[in-house]
Amino acid sequence: MFSLDMRKYVNNARGMHWLFIVFIIGIAFYLPFLIFGAFPYNTKTNTNPVEMEKLLDGIEAVDFYAMNQYLPKSSEEIQKEIDAFETWEGGKCRFCHAVKKDDRDRMAPTLYGIFGRPAGVGNNYTYSDALINMKGNGLIWTPETLDAFILNPSNYIPGNRMRVEGIEDPETRKLIVNYLMRESKPIKGE
């Protein structure tokens, strides 16, 4: 395929040039993981029903979504929640997370039915060791634990791959939690 001239041309580049290009290709392949917390493949099944039962064993069954009736109902407030969750100026959450059942899976695990679910159990996503450890430690996502997590993700679960700064404003965190309460509610029977 290569013409004779091209072969000569490439051969003229010293071994150091090749080494350099291999080195920067290596860095380029590491950067999406380092900067965005991306992972190149998914683990199809993280938790089977038997393990799930064990994780929830002894934990009082609380339907967190039953509290939805106390959420604000004005359209202005709902719009605030949407802005807090979905926009770049807000929490930026929607850029990586799916929320509803029919949302396409994105770069981060889906938040569909998150409340009352143990950490690190969503399928079709490769969790960090930190999240898998938290699953073993019995972390359950509740409005309170989620609020504490998004306040300072790297402090709450050190070594996790959610590469965003914490949301210091308590009002924004509350809006995000309310949004999830409203939008991620699982369809009955699931």
């Binding site: 040039h17 290009i21 290709i25 860095i27 950067l31 493949y41 998914n42």
Partner: protein, 169 residues
Amino acid sequence: MENQLAKKAGQILSWLGFSLFLIVFINMVQAPRITIGSEEREIMRNFHIFAGTFLMAISMFRVYLWIHFPPQKNHRLLPEQDYTFIHFLQFFLYCSFIAQGISGFLMAWSDGAIRFMQGIDTIDHGLWTISGYLHSAFGFLYIMLILIILILRLYHMLRFRVFSLNVFA
């Protein structure tokens, strides 16, 4: 194709490549800030696919010309090795655009943004994740290559008095 014609075609393709790169780059910086699912985001994504496909096609043609009609050294003051190195990096820059295009195509296809046959579901989250990671990695690769080429050009200017800011050769 004659050498002169290839040289001219190479120059035109380089400028086209540079212009398309700028357009795709601006789009790439702006699009992620727009909320997923909004109409504006869809328009930007479709434009990204359109411009990116052109950039890949131009890069393929440029690499073809490069292989069959390698550039000739025309800077008397630039040592052979420095000349080879910068062209080596520029060649890989075009290769990274091609790799970026292929991974981007796979990403769009597995996300259902590109469909060739109606009614056939091509959505595959596993493939989307792998191709998305590669798309991002090749993006970082060409950004690094461009920065390195610019730094080298600056070095050549200071050390050998060879002035050129040509990144796309």
